[in-house]
Symmetry: C2
Subunit: 224 residues, 2 copies
Amino acid sequence: MQSGADSSNGTTLRRHGSLTATVHTQLEAMILRGDIAPGERLNEQFLSSQLGVSRGPVREAARLLEQDGLVTSVANQGAFVRQLSLEDALELYDLRATIAGYACSCLATRATESDLTELRALVQKMQDCIDSDEEETYFRLNLLFHDRIAVLSGASRTARIYSALDKQVRLLRRRVLRGDESMRFSNEEHREILAAIESGDAGRAREAAEKHHINGKRRWINTL
Amino acid sequence: MQSGADSSNGTTLRRHGSLTATVHTQLEAMILRGDIAPGERLNEQFLSSQLGVSRGPVREAARLLEQDGLVTSVANQGAFVRQLSLEDALELYDLRATIAGYACSCLATRATESDLTELRALVQKMQDCIDSDEEETYFRLNLLFHDRIAVLSGASRTARIYSALDKQVRLLRRRVLRGDESMRFSNEEHREILAAIESGDAGRAREAAEKHHINGKRRWINTL
DNA sequence: AGTCATCTGGTTGTTGACAATCTGACAACA
DNA sequence: TGTTGTCAGATTGTCAACAACCAGATGACT
Protein backbone atom coordinates (compact mmCIF):
# COMPACT_ATOMS: atom_id res chain seq x y z
CA MET A 1 0.00 0.00 0.00
CA GLN A 2 1.54 3.25 -1.12
CA SER A 3 0.75 6.13 1.12
CA GLY A 4 0.22 9.46 -0.51
CA ALA A 5 2.10 10.83 -3.45
CA ASP A 6 5.57 9.37 -3.59
CA SER A 7 7.45 7.63 -0.78
CA SER A 8 7.70 4.57 -2.96
CA ASN A 9 11.20 5.08 -4.26
CA GLY A 10 12.73 7.92 -2.37
CA THR A 11 14.06 9.75 -5.39
CA THR A 12 11.39 11.07 -7.65
CA LEU A 13 11.40 8.94 -10.76
CA ARG A 14 10.95 11.90 -13.06
CA ARG A 15 13.87 11.24 -15.31
CA HIS A 16 12.01 9.70 -18.23
CA GLY A 17 9.85 12.72 -18.29
CA SER A 18 6.76 10.76 -19.00
CA LEU A 19 4.52 9.95 -16.10
CA THR A 20 2.97 7.27 -18.23
CA ALA A 21 6.19 5.27 -18.15
CA THR A 22 6.49 5.64 -14.41
CA VAL A 23 2.89 4.62 -13.82
CA HIS A 24 3.34 1.71 -16.19
CA THR A 25 6.29 0.45 -14.18
CA GLN A 26 4.50 0.95 -10.88
CA LEU A 27 1.32 -0.79 -11.95
CA GLU A 28 3.27 -3.65 -13.46
CA ALA A 29 5.09 -4.12 -10.17
CA MET A 30 1.82 -4.00 -8.24
CA ILE A 31 0.27 -6.62 -10.46
CA LEU A 32 3.29 -8.90 -10.44
CA ARG A 33 3.54 -8.53 -6.68
CA GLY A 34 -0.12 -9.43 -6.35
CA ASP A 35 -1.18 -6.14 -4.79
CA ILE A 36 -3.89 -6.13 -7.40
CA ALA A 37 -5.28 -9.63 -7.67
CA PRO A 38 -6.18 -11.36 -10.94
CA GLY A 39 -9.71 -10.49 -11.94
CA GLU A 40 -9.63 -7.24 -10.04
CA ARG A 41 -10.35 -4.01 -11.82
CA LEU A 42 -7.88 -1.16 -12.21
CA ASN A 43 -9.85 1.76 -10.90
CA GLU A 44 -8.48 4.76 -12.76
CA GLN A 45 -9.58 7.34 -10.25
CA PHE A 46 -8.33 5.41 -7.26
CA LEU A 47 -4.98 4.61 -8.82
CA SER A 48 -4.43 8.11 -10.10
CA SER A 49 -4.99 9.58 -6.65
CA GLN A 50 -2.82 6.88 -5.11
CA LEU A 51 0.03 7.65 -7.48
CA GLY A 52 -0.50 11.37 -7.36
CA VAL A 53 -1.22 11.85 -11.06
CA SER A 54 -4.29 12.41 -13.16
CA ARG A 55 -6.21 9.75 -14.98
CA GLY A 56 -4.56 10.38 -18.32
CA PRO A 57 -1.24 8.69 -17.61
CA VAL A 58 -3.04 5.89 -15.80
CA ARG A 59 -5.18 5.23 -18.82
CA GLU A 60 -2.18 5.20 -21.14
CA ALA A 61 -0.32 2.91 -18.78
CA ALA A 62 -3.31 0.59 -18.75
CA ARG A 63 -3.16 0.39 -22.53
CA LEU A 64 0.47 -0.58 -22.27
CA LEU A 65 -0.32 -3.25 -19.71
CA GLU A 66 -3.00 -4.60 -22.00
CA GLN A 67 -0.49 -5.01 -24.78
CA ASP A 68 1.83 -6.65 -22.29
CA GLY A 69 -0.91 -9.17 -21.69
CA LEU A 70 -1.17 -8.38 -18.01
CA VAL A 71 -4.64 -6.91 -18.16
CA THR A 72 -7.65 -7.16 -20.43
CA SER A 73 -9.88 -4.18 -20.93
CA VAL A 74 -13.57 -4.16 -21.65
CA ALA A 75 -15.25 -1.19 -23.28
CA ASN A 76 -16.89 1.16 -20.82
CA GLN A 77 -15.96 -1.13 -18.01
CA GLY A 78 -12.25 -0.75 -17.59
CA ALA A 79 -9.14 -2.88 -17.34
CA PHE A 80 -8.96 -6.06 -15.30
CA VAL A 81 -5.92 -7.96 -14.18
CA ARG A 82 -5.79 -10.99 -16.40
CA GLN A 83 -6.96 -14.32 -15.11
CA LEU A 84 -5.23 -17.06 -17.00
CA SER A 85 -7.03 -20.25 -17.81
CA LEU A 86 -5.21 -23.56 -17.84
CA GLU A 87 -5.21 -23.46 -21.63
CA ASP A 88 -3.70 -19.99 -21.54
CA ALA A 89 -1.01 -21.20 -19.22
CA LEU A 90 -0.12 -24.17 -21.40
CA GLU A 91 0.14 -22.03 -24.50
CA LEU A 92 2.16 -19.51 -22.60
CA TYR A 93 4.73 -22.07 -21.56
CA ASP A 94 5.01 -23.58 -25.02
CA LEU A 95 5.24 -20.27 -26.78
CA ARG A 96 7.82 -19.01 -24.34
CA ALA A 97 9.80 -22.18 -24.93
CA THR A 98 9.71 -21.56 -28.67
CA ILE A 99 10.81 -17.96 -28.32
CA ALA A 100 13.55 -18.86 -25.89
CA GLY A 101 14.74 -21.51 -28.30
CA TYR A 102 15.03 -18.98 -31.06
CA ALA A 103 16.86 -16.53 -28.82
CA CYS A 104 19.35 -19.19 -27.80
CA SER A 105 19.98 -20.22 -31.36
CA CYS A 106 20.73 -16.60 -32.20
CA LEU A 107 23.04 -16.21 -29.28
CA ALA A 108 24.89 -19.40 -30.15
CA THR A 109 26.00 -17.85 -33.41
CA ARG A 110 27.15 -14.54 -31.99
CA ALA A 111 28.02 -14.84 -28.30
CA THR A 112 31.15 -12.98 -27.32
CA GLU A 113 33.55 -14.17 -24.66
CA SER A 114 32.19 -11.45 -22.43
CA ASP A 115 28.64 -12.77 -22.89
CA LEU A 116 29.74 -16.26 -21.99
CA THR A 117 31.59 -15.05 -18.92
CA GLU A 118 28.47 -13.31 -17.71
CA LEU A 119 26.28 -16.34 -18.22
CA ARG A 120 28.79 -18.68 -16.61
CA ALA A 121 28.87 -16.43 -13.57
CA LEU A 122 25.11 -16.56 -13.32
CA VAL A 123 25.04 -20.32 -13.48
CA GLN A 124 27.69 -20.45 -10.79
CA LYS A 125 25.74 -18.07 -8.57
CA MET A 126 22.65 -20.19 -8.99
CA GLN A 127 24.68 -23.20 -7.95
CA ASP A 128 25.74 -21.34 -4.83
CA CYS A 129 22.10 -20.61 -4.06
CA ILE A 130 21.26 -24.28 -4.35
CA ASP A 131 24.11 -25.21 -2.02
CA SER A 132 23.04 -22.65 0.55
CA ASP A 133 19.35 -23.25 -0.07
CA GLU A 134 18.40 -19.71 -1.02
CA GLU A 135 15.35 -20.28 -3.14
CA GLU A 136 14.33 -16.67 -3.37
CA THR A 137 17.66 -15.59 -4.80
CA TYR A 138 17.76 -18.57 -7.10
CA PHE A 139 14.39 -17.59 -8.46
CA ARG A 140 15.58 -14.07 -9.16
CA LEU A 141 18.81 -15.20 -10.79
CA ASN A 142 16.90 -17.68 -12.90
CA LEU A 143 14.74 -14.89 -14.31
CA LEU A 144 17.85 -12.84 -14.92
CA PHE A 145 19.68 -15.67 -16.67
CA HIS A 146 16.95 -16.14 -19.23
CA ASP A 147 16.42 -12.45 -19.62
CA ARG A 148 20.11 -11.91 -20.30
CA ILE A 149 20.12 -14.63 -22.93
CA ALA A 150 17.24 -12.92 -24.68
CA VAL A 151 18.94 -9.55 -24.56
CA LEU A 152 22.37 -10.79 -25.56
CA SER A 153 20.87 -12.64 -28.50
CA GLY A 154 20.72 -9.24 -30.17
CA ALA A 155 17.18 -9.91 -31.32
CA SER A 156 15.39 -6.97 -29.80
CA ARG A 157 11.84 -7.92 -30.65
CA THR A 158 12.46 -11.42 -29.49
CA ALA A 159 13.78 -10.16 -26.17
CA ARG A 160 10.79 -7.93 -25.77
CA ILE A 161 8.30 -10.67 -26.47
CA TYR A 162 10.12 -13.06 -24.19
CA SER A 163 10.01 -10.50 -21.43
CA ALA A 164 6.29 -9.98 -21.90
CA LEU A 165 5.57 -13.70 -21.87
CA ASP A 166 7.70 -14.09 -18.80
CA LYS A 167 5.65 -11.53 -16.93
CA GLN A 168 2.48 -13.31 -17.91
CA VAL A 169 3.88 -16.57 -16.59
CA ARG A 170 4.72 -14.88 -13.32
CA LEU A 171 1.08 -13.87 -13.19
CA LEU A 172 0.12 -17.46 -12.49
CA ARG A 173 2.88 -18.57 -10.21
CA ARG A 174 3.80 -15.62 -8.13
CA ARG A 175 5.19 -17.66 -5.32
CA VAL A 176 6.84 -20.67 -6.77
CA LEU A 177 8.85 -22.79 -4.41
CA ARG A 178 10.72 -25.08 -6.68
CA GLY A 179 12.15 -27.31 -4.05
CA ASP A 180 15.71 -28.50 -3.86
CA GLU A 181 15.45 -31.22 -6.48
CA SER A 182 13.79 -28.96 -9.01
CA MET A 183 16.45 -26.31 -8.63
CA ARG A 184 19.16 -28.89 -9.12
CA PHE A 185 17.62 -30.30 -12.30
CA SER A 186 16.86 -26.84 -13.55
CA ASN A 187 20.40 -25.59 -13.16
CA GLU A 188 21.72 -28.73 -14.81
CA GLU A 189 19.66 -27.72 -17.81
CA HIS A 190 21.09 -24.23 -17.61
CA ARG A 191 24.51 -25.78 -17.92
CA GLU A 192 23.44 -27.65 -21.00
CA ILE A 193 22.04 -24.48 -22.54
CA LEU A 194 25.25 -22.68 -21.79
CA ALA A 195 27.35 -25.50 -23.22
CA ALA A 196 25.27 -25.49 -26.38
CA ILE A 197 25.76 -21.75 -26.77
CA GLU A 198 29.47 -22.12 -26.16
CA SER A 199 29.67 -24.80 -28.83
CA GLY A 200 28.16 -22.39 -31.34
CA ASP A 201 25.68 -25.01 -32.45
CA ALA A 202 22.47 -23.09 -33.05
CA GLY A 203 20.28 -26.15 -33.38
CA ARG A 204 21.57 -27.68 -30.19
CA ALA A 205 21.11 -24.41 -28.31
CA ARG A 206 17.57 -24.13 -29.51
CA GLU A 207 16.70 -27.63 -28.44
CA ALA A 208 18.35 -27.23 -25.06
CA ALA A 209 16.41 -24.07 -24.34
CA GLU A 210 13.13 -25.52 -25.53
CA LYS A 211 13.60 -28.64 -23.48
CA HIS A 212 14.42 -26.62 -20.40
CA HIS A 213 11.28 -24.54 -20.71
CA ILE A 214 9.11 -27.54 -21.43
CA ASN A 215 10.51 -29.23 -18.36
CA GLY A 216 9.69 -26.09 -16.42
CA LYS A 217 6.17 -26.39 -17.71
CA ARG A 218 6.00 -29.99 -16.53
CA ARG A 219 7.37 -29.04 -13.13
CA TRP A 220 4.70 -26.40 -12.85
CA ILE A 221 1.96 -28.79 -13.84
CA ASN A 222 3.10 -31.21 -11.18
CA THR A 223 2.52 -28.58 -8.52
CA LEU A 224 -1.17 -28.34 -9.38
CA MET B 1 -21.14 -11.59 -23.38
CA GLN B 2 -17.67 -11.64 -24.78
CA SER B 3 -17.33 -8.08 -25.95
CA GLY B 4 -13.99 -6.44 -26.48
CA ALA B 5 -10.91 -8.55 -25.93
CA ASP B 6 -9.30 -9.19 -29.25
CA SER B 7 -8.77 -11.00 -32.43
CA SER B 8 -11.76 -10.36 -34.62
CA ASN B 9 -8.91 -9.35 -36.79
CA GLY B 10 -8.95 -6.71 -39.42
CA THR B 11 -11.88 -4.36 -39.45
CA THR B 12 -13.48 -4.36 -36.05
CA LEU B 13 -15.66 -1.37 -36.63
CA ARG B 14 -18.20 -2.21 -33.99
CA ARG B 15 -21.22 -0.02 -33.94
CA HIS B 16 -20.12 1.94 -30.95
CA GLY B 17 -16.49 0.99 -30.56
CA SER B 18 -14.34 3.37 -28.62
CA LEU B 19 -12.76 6.19 -30.52
CA THR B 20 -9.35 4.93 -29.51
CA ALA B 21 -10.01 1.63 -31.27
CA THR B 22 -11.30 3.40 -34.35
CA VAL B 23 -8.34 5.74 -34.48
CA HIS B 24 -6.00 2.82 -33.94
CA THR B 25 -7.46 1.01 -36.91
CA GLN B 26 -7.37 4.11 -39.07
CA LEU B 27 -3.79 5.00 -38.25
CA GLU B 28 -2.68 1.43 -38.75
CA ALA B 29 -4.27 1.44 -42.18
CA MET B 30 -2.64 4.75 -43.02
CA ILE B 31 0.77 3.50 -42.02
CA LEU B 32 0.44 0.17 -43.79
CA ARG B 33 -0.81 1.95 -46.88
CA GLY B 34 2.15 4.30 -46.73
CA ASP B 35 0.13 7.47 -46.28
CA ILE B 36 2.47 8.20 -43.44
CA ALA B 37 5.97 7.30 -44.55
CA PRO B 38 8.54 5.53 -42.37
CA GLY B 39 10.44 8.05 -40.29
CA GLU B 40 7.60 10.53 -40.41
CA ARG B 41 6.11 11.85 -37.21
CA LEU B 42 2.53 11.31 -36.13
CA ASN B 43 1.41 14.85 -35.42
CA GLU B 44 -1.22 14.51 -32.73
CA GLN B 45 -2.92 17.80 -33.38
CA PHE B 46 -3.04 17.34 -37.11
CA LEU B 47 -4.30 13.78 -36.91
CA SER B 48 -6.90 14.57 -34.29
CA SER B 49 -8.38 17.35 -36.37
CA GLN B 50 -8.09 15.20 -39.47
CA LEU B 51 -10.05 12.39 -37.80
CA GLY B 52 -12.41 14.68 -36.00
CA VAL B 53 -11.49 13.67 -32.46
CA SER B 54 -9.44 15.17 -29.68
CA ARG B 55 -5.83 14.35 -28.95
CA GLY B 56 -6.58 11.86 -26.19
CA PRO B 57 -7.71 8.96 -28.36
CA VAL B 58 -4.92 9.72 -30.83
CA ARG B 59 -2.36 9.50 -28.07
CA GLU B 60 -3.78 6.21 -26.81
CA ALA B 61 -3.88 4.83 -30.32
CA ALA B 62 -0.25 5.83 -30.76
CA ARG B 63 0.63 3.83 -27.66
CA LEU B 64 -1.11 0.85 -29.18
CA LEU B 65 0.77 1.27 -32.42
CA GLU B 66 4.00 1.43 -30.50
CA GLN B 67 3.28 -1.90 -28.90
CA ASP B 68 2.39 -3.21 -32.33
CA GLY B 69 5.87 -2.23 -33.39
CA LEU B 70 4.65 0.08 -36.11
CA VAL B 71 5.87 3.27 -34.49
CA THR B 72 8.51 4.24 -31.98
CA SER B 73 7.93 7.12 -29.65
CA VAL B 74 10.47 9.46 -28.17
CA ALA B 75 9.80 11.41 -25.03
CA ASN B 76 8.66 14.96 -25.65
CA GLN B 77 9.08 14.40 -29.32
CA GLY B 78 6.27 12.15 -30.35
CA ALA B 79 5.70 8.95 -32.27
CA PHE B 80 7.44 8.16 -35.54
CA VAL B 81 6.60 5.52 -38.08
CA ARG B 82 9.20 2.86 -37.64
CA GLN B 83 12.11 2.63 -40.03
CA LEU B 84 13.40 -0.89 -40.13
CA SER B 85 17.06 -1.57 -40.52
CA LEU B 86 18.28 -4.58 -42.45
CA GLU B 87 19.06 -6.32 -39.17
CA ASP B 88 15.55 -5.61 -37.96
CA ALA B 89 14.16 -7.09 -41.12
CA LEU B 90 16.21 -10.25 -40.86
CA GLU B 91 15.19 -10.81 -37.25
CA LEU B 92 11.61 -10.11 -38.16
CA TYR B 93 11.57 -12.78 -40.84
CA ASP B 94 13.28 -15.36 -38.64
CA LEU B 95 11.11 -14.68 -35.65
CA ARG B 96 7.99 -14.78 -37.72
CA ALA B 97 9.12 -18.07 -39.16
CA THR B 98 9.57 -19.46 -35.65
CA ILE B 99 6.17 -18.27 -34.50
CA ALA B 100 4.50 -19.57 -37.63
CA GLY B 101 6.19 -22.90 -37.08
CA TYR B 102 4.77 -23.14 -33.60
CA ALA B 103 1.30 -22.17 -34.78
CA CYS B 104 1.40 -24.84 -37.47
CA SER B 105 2.53 -27.49 -35.05
CA CYS B 106 -0.38 -26.61 -32.80
CA LEU B 107 -2.83 -26.72 -35.65
CA ALA B 108 -1.51 -30.08 -36.82
CA THR B 109 -2.66 -31.63 -33.55
CA ARG B 110 -6.13 -30.11 -33.50
CA ALA B 111 -7.27 -29.18 -36.98
CA THR B 112 -10.90 -30.03 -37.66
CA GLU B 113 -12.20 -31.13 -41.03
CA SER B 114 -13.77 -27.71 -41.36
CA ASP B 115 -10.41 -26.04 -40.77
CA LEU B 116 -8.79 -28.17 -43.42
CA THR B 117 -11.55 -27.46 -45.91
CA GLU B 118 -11.08 -23.75 -45.42
CA LEU B 119 -7.33 -23.95 -45.90
CA ARG B 120 -7.62 -26.18 -48.95
CA ALA B 121 -9.99 -23.68 -50.49
CA LEU B 122 -7.51 -20.89 -49.93
CA VAL B 123 -4.69 -22.83 -51.53
CA GLN B 124 -6.92 -23.55 -54.49
CA LYS B 125 -7.88 -19.90 -54.85
CA MET B 126 -4.24 -18.93 -54.77
CA GLN B 127 -3.59 -21.43 -57.53
CA ASP B 128 -6.34 -19.78 -59.56
CA CYS B 129 -4.67 -16.43 -59.03
CA ILE B 130 -1.40 -17.81 -60.31
CA ASP B 131 -3.08 -19.24 -63.38
CA SER B 132 -4.83 -15.98 -64.15
CA ASP B 133 -1.86 -13.90 -63.08
CA GLU B 134 -3.61 -11.85 -60.38
CA GLU B 135 -0.73 -10.93 -58.15
CA GLU B 136 -2.62 -8.48 -56.02
CA THR B 137 -5.25 -11.01 -55.05
CA TYR B 138 -2.64 -13.68 -54.51
CA PHE B 139 -0.86 -11.37 -52.13
CA ARG B 140 -4.03 -10.78 -50.15
CA LEU B 141 -4.95 -14.46 -50.02
CA ASN B 142 -1.44 -15.31 -48.94
CA LEU B 143 -1.75 -13.01 -45.96
CA LEU B 144 -5.14 -14.50 -45.18
CA PHE B 145 -3.87 -18.07 -45.42
CA HIS B 146 -1.19 -17.54 -42.83
CA ASP B 147 -3.44 -15.48 -40.64
CA ARG B 148 -6.07 -18.19 -40.64
CA ILE B 149 -3.52 -20.81 -39.67
CA ALA B 150 -2.49 -18.69 -36.72
CA VAL B 151 -6.07 -18.16 -35.62
CA LEU B 152 -7.18 -21.74 -36.14
CA SER B 153 -4.19 -22.96 -34.14
CA GLY B 154 -6.18 -21.93 -31.10
CA ALA B 155 -3.14 -20.22 -29.61
CA SER B 156 -4.47 -16.73 -29.15
CA ARG B 157 -1.27 -15.04 -28.04
CA THR B 158 0.60 -16.73 -30.83
CA ALA B 159 -1.91 -15.48 -33.36
CA ARG B 160 -1.70 -12.01 -31.98
CA ILE B 161 2.07 -11.91 -32.11
CA TYR B 162 2.12 -13.36 -35.59
CA SER B 163 -0.29 -10.70 -36.73
CA ALA B 164 1.85 -7.96 -35.23
CA LEU B 165 5.02 -9.30 -36.84
CA ASP B 166 3.21 -9.60 -40.12
CA LYS B 167 2.28 -5.94 -40.06
CA GLN B 168 5.86 -5.01 -39.35
CA VAL B 169 7.00 -7.05 -42.31
CA ARG B 170 4.50 -5.28 -44.49
CA LEU B 171 6.11 -2.08 -43.32
CA LEU B 172 9.18 -2.85 -45.37
CA ARG B 173 7.70 -4.33 -48.47
CA ARG B 174 4.48 -2.54 -49.11
CA ARG B 175 4.53 -3.22 -52.76
CA VAL B 176 5.94 -6.63 -53.31
CA LEU B 177 5.64 -8.07 -56.75
CA ARG B 178 6.58 -11.65 -56.32
CA GLY B 179 6.68 -12.59 -59.93
CA ASP B 180 5.20 -15.68 -61.45
CA GLU B 181 7.92 -18.09 -60.42
CA SER B 182 7.91 -16.94 -56.83
CA MET B 183 4.17 -17.35 -56.53
CA ARG B 184 4.41 -20.85 -57.93
CA PHE B 185 7.13 -21.92 -55.51
CA SER B 186 5.37 -20.22 -52.66
CA ASN B 187 2.08 -21.97 -53.22
CA GLU B 188 3.87 -25.28 -53.59
CA GLU B 189 5.14 -24.70 -50.07
CA HIS B 190 1.63 -23.88 -48.95
CA ARG B 191 0.61 -27.30 -50.18
CA GLU B 192 3.37 -28.90 -48.18
CA ILE B 193 2.31 -27.00 -45.05
CA LEU B 194 -1.26 -28.07 -45.57
CA ALA B 195 -0.25 -31.67 -46.16
CA ALA B 196 1.80 -31.64 -42.97
CA ILE B 197 -1.14 -30.31 -41.00
CA GLU B 198 -3.41 -32.90 -42.55
CA SER B 199 -1.00 -35.63 -41.56
CA GLY B 200 -1.21 -34.51 -37.93
CA ASP B 201 2.56 -34.54 -37.65
CA ALA B 202 3.38 -31.53 -35.50
CA GLY B 203 7.10 -31.62 -36.16
CA ARG B 204 6.67 -31.84 -39.90
CA ALA B 205 4.16 -29.00 -39.85
CA ARG B 206 6.53 -26.85 -37.89
CA GLU B 207 9.39 -27.48 -40.27
CA ALA B 208 7.27 -26.89 -43.34
CA ALA B 209 6.07 -23.56 -42.03
CA GLU B 210 9.52 -22.46 -40.94
CA LYS B 211 11.03 -23.41 -44.26
CA HIS B 212 8.32 -21.54 -46.15
CA HIS B 213 8.93 -18.37 -44.19
CA ILE B 214 12.69 -18.65 -44.48
CA ASN B 215 12.32 -19.08 -48.21
CA GLY B 216 10.12 -15.99 -48.20
CA LYS B 217 12.92 -14.19 -46.46
CA ARG B 218 15.37 -15.33 -49.11
CA ARG B 219 13.03 -14.26 -51.89
CA TRP B 220 12.78 -10.85 -50.29
CA ILE B 221 16.54 -10.54 -49.93
CA ASN B 222 16.96 -11.34 -53.60
CA THR B 223 14.83 -8.35 -54.51
CA LEU B 224 17.24 -5.93 -52.82
C1' DA C 1 -44.60 -13.43 -6.28
C1' DG C 2 -42.44 -12.38 -10.61
C1' DT C 3 -41.14 -9.44 -14.40
C1' DC C 4 -39.89 -5.25 -16.32
C1' DA C 5 -39.02 -0.19 -16.51
C1' DT C 6 -36.69 3.48 -14.27
C1' DC C 7 -33.52 5.76 -11.36
C1' DT C 8 -29.12 6.56 -9.24
C1' DG C 9 -24.33 6.28 -8.01
C1' DG C 10 -20.14 5.33 -9.78
C1' DT C 11 -16.87 4.56 -13.56
C1' DT C 12 -15.01 5.07 -17.99
C1' DG C 13 -14.70 7.95 -22.43
C1' DT C 14 -13.67 12.35 -24.27
C1' DT C 15 -12.56 16.99 -24.46
C1' DG C 16 -10.27 21.59 -24.39
C1' DA C 17 -7.02 24.26 -21.80
C1' DC C 18 -2.64 24.85 -19.57
C1' DA C 19 2.33 23.63 -18.53
C1' DA C 20 6.72 21.67 -19.91
C1' DT C 21 9.80 20.75 -23.47
C1' DC C 22 12.02 20.58 -27.90
C1' DT C 23 13.51 22.58 -32.58
C1' DG C 24 15.29 25.90 -35.38
C1' DA C 25 16.69 30.50 -36.21
C1' DC C 26 18.58 34.82 -35.07
C1' DA C 27 21.75 37.74 -32.95
C1' DA C 28 25.59 38.84 -29.76
C1' DC C 29 30.18 37.91 -28.89
C1' DA C 30 35.15 36.21 -28.96
C1' DT D 1 34.13 33.28 -38.96
C1' DG D 2 32.56 30.16 -35.67
C1' DT D 3 30.42 29.55 -31.28
C1' DT D 4 27.07 30.35 -27.90
C1' DG D 5 22.90 32.37 -25.68
C1' DT D 6 18.32 33.54 -26.28
C1' DC D 7 13.83 33.64 -28.19
C1' DA D 8 9.61 32.36 -30.72
C1' DG D 9 6.85 28.85 -32.47
C1' DA D 10 5.29 24.44 -32.44
C1' DT D 11 4.47 20.07 -30.18
C1' DT D 12 4.04 16.92 -26.60
C1' DG D 13 2.76 16.03 -21.54
C1' DT D 14 -0.63 16.65 -18.06
C1' DC D 15 -4.69 18.04 -15.92
C1' DA D 16 -9.51 18.77 -14.34
C1' DA D 17 -14.20 19.03 -15.96
C1' DC D 18 -17.97 17.26 -18.70
C1' DA D 19 -20.57 13.59 -21.17
C1' DA D 20 -21.71 8.79 -22.04
C1' DC D 21 -22.34 4.55 -20.21
C1' DC D 22 -23.02 0.43 -17.17
C1' DA D 23 -24.40 -2.22 -12.91
C1' DG D 24 -27.25 -2.69 -9.30
C1' DA D 25 -31.21 -1.11 -6.57
C1' DT D 26 -35.77 0.53 -6.31
C1' DG D 27 -40.38 0.51 -7.35
C1' DA D 28 -44.56 -0.18 -10.43
C1' DC D 29 -47.38 -3.30 -12.80
C1' DT D 30 -49.35 -7.90 -14.07
